[in-house]
Amino acid sequence: MIAFLRIFFIGGLIAYRGLFNWIRPAIYIPTMLVGPLFQILFFAYLGRYSRLQNDAFFVVGNAVQVSAMSGVFSATMAIANERQFHTLSPLLATPANRFAVFMGRSLPVLVNGLVVSAFGFCMGYLLLDFKPPASSLAPLALVVTVSVASCTAFGLTIGSIGLRARDVFLSANLVYYLMWLFCGVNIPLNALPGWLSQIGRLLPLTHGIAAARRIADGASLGSVSGLVWTELGVGAAYATASFLLVRFFEYEGRRRASLETF
């Protein structure tokens, strides 16, 4: 059990540092903070012009969604880059528990997603008309954490496909873009055609964003517990899928001797 925890926490952190050794303030600030900030501002102003909803609607939707910069891209890289960097074979040659190895590295990704999201909320408060009641902050933080965790699990699923696919980063880009449309980030789900909103309900963030909006509007955590549990369930489903895919591609990669071939 101690070995499992050591690999999960310490191994996860070391792997994250190794795979993201290129991250420094000169890259992080423009990409993870300034870019998402202007995404929030853009959609809030577009919302004002379209008269669709108030600023709070767009701040909450986009501040939660920008966590996908970490949840989708970083989580994808956290698995798929082992293959890109040719470190996958030595990693899989170890007897270490696979769940601890791959899920452990999702923890720094989750923390990073929370930082990006919290920055978005703070900027929404400072620059736009977003003033949630103080009593909503703790439940809002909980809902955002659940949403970011769910999104990270989704990113791990895409990353595990990267153990086989030639270019999974293109898919990660596509998915990130589609979240703006499918997940109710900028358009209420009931304004979308039925099939689009159905896809949205199968994706992470959708239920979390809906819950976060109601909490920011003054609702209690209990009144949105159904949405929060659904978000958690979606995340658990993706985490399971991710783990099964990692195991499957490991097995197939060993059988075909194609772990690091492209």
Binding site: T31, L46, D167, L170, N173, L178
Partner: protein, 256 residues
């Protein structure tokens, strides 16, 4: 004649090369169509249906901007990573004549954005494609592409000074989309942002294209777009010269 040939061959080569890139197809076809779709739904739900064609045209220019930003902003950095920058710089041809067709090709693949958003809007949302001044439209589109392509020379020559050109590109995509009025009218934005918009070609390019398509006088905006393009060319040429000399002097041309 040889300069014209160089520009043509370079433009054609880079245009074909960018067309084969999945990333640039996402940037120019998928991204703008998605932004347009979101804008359509927001305008429709917000009871602003008259603005759908307006959104199509704004999204198309956004696509041209995105392609220019990512393509031109990283142009020299990519040459550096691929190890071809020294070869390119050491040729007797001025560096500007090598960079210019590259940046023009990045804005030219924005034509895919125009086509994709207009076709997508027509087929999926039934937005009528009616051009008020066809001749002006035919002039405004290439003028916008040229204006942005020349802005690309400035991006290419200045981003190289920052070691992480891609991060700069990631940062600038949304601010320019917002501040140039591609989808949100400038009148809604704070007054201090207007002078920034005035010196950016997308502001005038989209005005020219909208003026030609929706009605109005597009010619002044077309002229400003081209005038700004000329200014960008001069600034870009000076910056390129400075960067090239500095890199040669300090022997940092190939250092990433």
């Amino acid at each position: 004649m040889s300069v014209a040939r160089l520009l043509w061959v370079g433009w054609r080569f880079h245009f074909k090369s960018l067309t084969l890139s999945g990333f640039f197809l996402i940037t120019t076809v998928f991204g703008p169509a998605l932004i347009a779709t979101i804008a359509y739904y927001m305008f429709k739900t917000g009871q602003r249906p008259g603005t759908l064609f307006y959104a199509s045209l704004g999204s198309a220019v956004y696509g041209i901007w995105s392609a220019t930003l990512f393509g031109s902003g990283g142009a020299l950095a990519w040459q550096r990573w691929q190890g071809t920058l020294e070869v390119v710089v050491s040729t007797p041809t001025p560096l500007l004549l090598i960079v210019l067709p590259l940046t023009l090709s990045t804005s030219s693949i924005g034509l895919y954005s125009l086509a994709s958003t207009l076709i997508w809007g027509r087929v999926v949302f039934g937005i009528p494609f009616q051009i008020a001044h066809p001749l002006a439209f035919v002039v405004a589109v290439p003028a916008t592409i040229l204006g942005l392509g020349l802005l690309g020379v400035v991006l290419a020559s200045t981003f190289i000074l920052y070691r992480h050109a891609n991060a700069l590109s990631n940062m600038l995509e949304w601010p320019v989309l917002l501040v140039t009025g591609l989808l949100v009218p400038l009148s809604l934005l704070p007054g201090w942002s207007h002078p920034i918009a005035w010196v950016l070609a997308p502001t005038w390019g989209v005005r020219a294209i909208r003026g030609a398509a929706l009605g109005g006088n597009p010619w002044p905006s077309t002229a400003v777009t081209l005038g700004l393009g000329l200014a960008y060319l001069v600034i870009g040429a000076v910056c390129l010269r400075y960067v090239e000399l500095a890199a040669r002097k300090q022997a940092t041309l190939s250092l990433t």
